[in-house]
Every structure is written in C-alpha cells, then in structure tokens.
Amino acid sequence: MTTGPGAEAPTLTDRYIHAATRSIRTAERAAVAAELRERIADATDARLAAGVSPDTVEASVLTELGDPERVAADYTGQALHLIGPRFYLTWRRLVKILLATVVPCVVFAMLLAGVIDRDPIGAVVWSAIAIPATVAIHLVFWTTFAFAMIERLESHAAGRGKPLRLKQLADIETAAQPWTIDQLVTVGPARTRLARSSFIALVAYELIFAALVVLQQFLVVLGGTPVPLVDPVHWSFLLPWLLCVAAVRLALTIVVYLRGRWQGWSASLYGIATLAFIVPVIWHWTAGTLVNPAFNAAAGIDADDEAVRVIGVVLGIGALIIAGSEMFGPIRAAWRGRAASVGTR
C-alpha cells in the first residue's frame, strides 16, 4: 500500500492490514490482505445495519478481530509454538542424552587439564563449573534452535495443506531410536537382584586383582631378571592390606549372591572396602612412592619428565573413576531394593 502525495492518511484498517500481513510471504500477502479487507468491510456493513455509530464501527470491528498476528497465523496455518507435539519428546530425549554424556566429559577434561597444569585449586574448580555450564547452554540452545527450524518447516508446509512427508522428518520424529517394547525398563525385584553373570564377573575380577598384586613382582623381565613393579618396601603393609581388602570384597560378593540382592549394609561395606583399597593406592601414587625405583631405573623412566607426569595423572584419575563406579553399582542396587520393598510391604 503505497501512499503518494495527496493520498489520505492511512486508516485504522490500512494499519491493521499492514500489521497482519507484513510477516506473510510476498506471494500470499496480497491474497490474505484482500480477504481481510473483504472480511472487515462485511463486518462493518453488518454493524452499520445494526445501528452502530459510523464513528466507532471501524474500531470495534478491528478490536473484535483481535491480534493481527494471530489472525494472520490462522490464515497461513503457522504453528504458534516453538516445538510442537510431533517433535517435543524427541527433542527432550536428545537434550537429556546430550547433557548427560557431554557435560561430564567436559567437567572431567577441565579437572584433568587443571591438575596437569598444576593450576591453583580455585581456578580449577571455577573452570570445572563455568565451562561445562557454558557448554550445557550451547547444547540446549542449538538443539532447540534446530528443532524449532524443523517445526517451522513442517507447519509451513502443513499450512499450505501439504504436510511434509520426508523420510528424514519421520526419522527425527522417532528419535533415530524408534520406540520398541525392548526399551521398557525392568521394574520390581529383578532389578535389584545380583545376576549370575555379574556375580561371576565380580569374582573373576577380584581373583585377577589379587593375583596381579602378587604376580606383579614376576611379570616384567628386564635385563634377564624379573623387576617388581611396586616398590618391595610395600610388602610390609600396603600389599597385604590390599589382599585383605580383596578377600573382604570377595566374601561380600558371595554373601550377596547367596542372599540374592544388595542391601544397605552390604553395599556400604563394599563401598568402605573399595575406599580402603583406593585411598592408600592413590596416596602413594601421587606421592610417587608406589612404583619401584629399580623398575624406573631399569626401564629408563624419568619420574620428573612432564609426559610421564601427565600419564601418571591420567592413570590416577582413571583409577579413581573405576573405583567410584565400583562403589556406585551396589549402592544403586541397594537403593532400588529399598524403594521397591517399601511398595510391596
């Protein structure tokens, strides 16, 4: 609607039509504008015939019509939501998966980098909070943005009466993991039971660990003679202690298997035993007193070398993570068992 010299000032109707159609694609804009004009004119005529005063009729018709953008959306069939029911569950699952997998990795990486660089503890903690937070915000934003774009595409096509039937959309819709019966999580007592396969694995693991504690003296042969990996001075306390802890864990595992499931006391004892194992080991590892100096000398490893130190830090953190997950398993099973029994008693 161009106004040249001598044209009247835009009426309320002109301004309304402009507001309603300015966000519509050029191809459809003229058509929607014409229809709106007809509709407004008809409504105006009807009201005038009913006796409404000509001064107020335009305003009252337009007011009753309502928000011009909403009226335009009704005409074009545009979706008035960011992400609709079709893609919402997929979006939500994806965001949850991303946050659960990526953010812990970033936290780990920040901690590792901080430790390796020997940064002050305050800076390390801050970077382990601030940077993962930024990453999380980016993850949520870009995922939401992508899905919002898909939703716009879809509703735009649907508004023209031809919903998109692209195979890609159907794939996105089913989250690249079409929901099947298999995805249902087990509930009830089965969830807390110590499975036979887990039991055998735990026993084997414990036995192998105990065997390694003893056999590490004989495994590495350098220059014709076996060189112990662990400083032999530790035979006075640490290594026998580790064997005891392994025996305790083995006994606990057998008891739990015979009883059928993890309980509060068994999970706690198992956790304490794991701590009793990991704490002294990490203590000596960080102090550099765990490894046999003779081994370092024979293998040509310089303990002060930067690369060696980095590997040491990574191994140490890896051991901590493994110990943590070993504690976590029984505790989670015991927790589920408590929750389940509350319901059944």
Partner: protein, 113 residues
C-alpha cells in the same frame, strides 16, 4: 466451580460442532457464496460458527482442493466467492454417510444403555 464446568462443557460442545462445520460449508456452497453471507446462512440454520474459525477454514478447504474461489468485481467492492468443487462433492458425500452412520450408532447406544 460453576464457572469452571461452564468452560469445560463449552470445550466439549466446540469439539462436537467442529467437524460438522466443514460438512455444512461443503453442502451450502453448492451454490456459490462469500464469507459473510455464508456466516449468516449457517447461523440461520443453527450452526454456531466463529468468524475467526470460518474464514481460515474456507481458505484451507480451498488449498486442499475442496472449494474453488473467484473474485467477483462487479459490485461496489470485490468479493471472493467460494464454490464446492467435484472433490468437495465427493468429500461431502463421504462425510454425510459417516454422519448418518454415527447418528444411528448413537441412537442404538442410547436405546440399549
């Protein structure tokens, strides 16, 4: 509480009427008509439609091919006339059959309950 049940029952009433408007339009527009005249005619027959519902509905039916439209420029101002197409006739027939079937089912379920 009275107010709340008013809102929910209004919602259910709207649901009940929603589908019939399409059928009513397709039948009425066997004779060409334009937006406002259709609105008044439907009101006379007892179909309570909102203008905000009817106009976009006509547009959508046209996009889906069930109505044809034509701008009539003879009168004082241009008017868009809608008319049921052949596809629209077929759809109307299908909807009517379904409507009769539903009506009969409702009567049966009332009689037997």
């Amino acid at each position: 509480m009275w107010h709340m049940s008013d809102d929910t029952s209004e919602g259910h009433l709207q649901e009940l009427r929603r589908g019939t408007i399409v059928l009513a339009c397709l039948i009425r527009l066997r004779q060409p008509g334009y937006g406002y005249s259709l609105l008044e005619a439907l009101d006379d027959y007892g179909f309570k439609v909102d203008a905000n519902t009817l106009y976009p509905l006509l547009r959508r039916l046209e996009q889906q091919g069930y109505l044809t439209s034509e701008w009539n420029t003879e009168e004082s101002r241009p008017r868009k006339f809608y008319r049921t197409s052949t596809a629209g006739e077929r759809l109307a027939a299908t909807l009517l059959t379904d409507w009769d079937a539903l009506s009969a089912s409702l009567r049966r379920i009332q009689d037997e309950s």
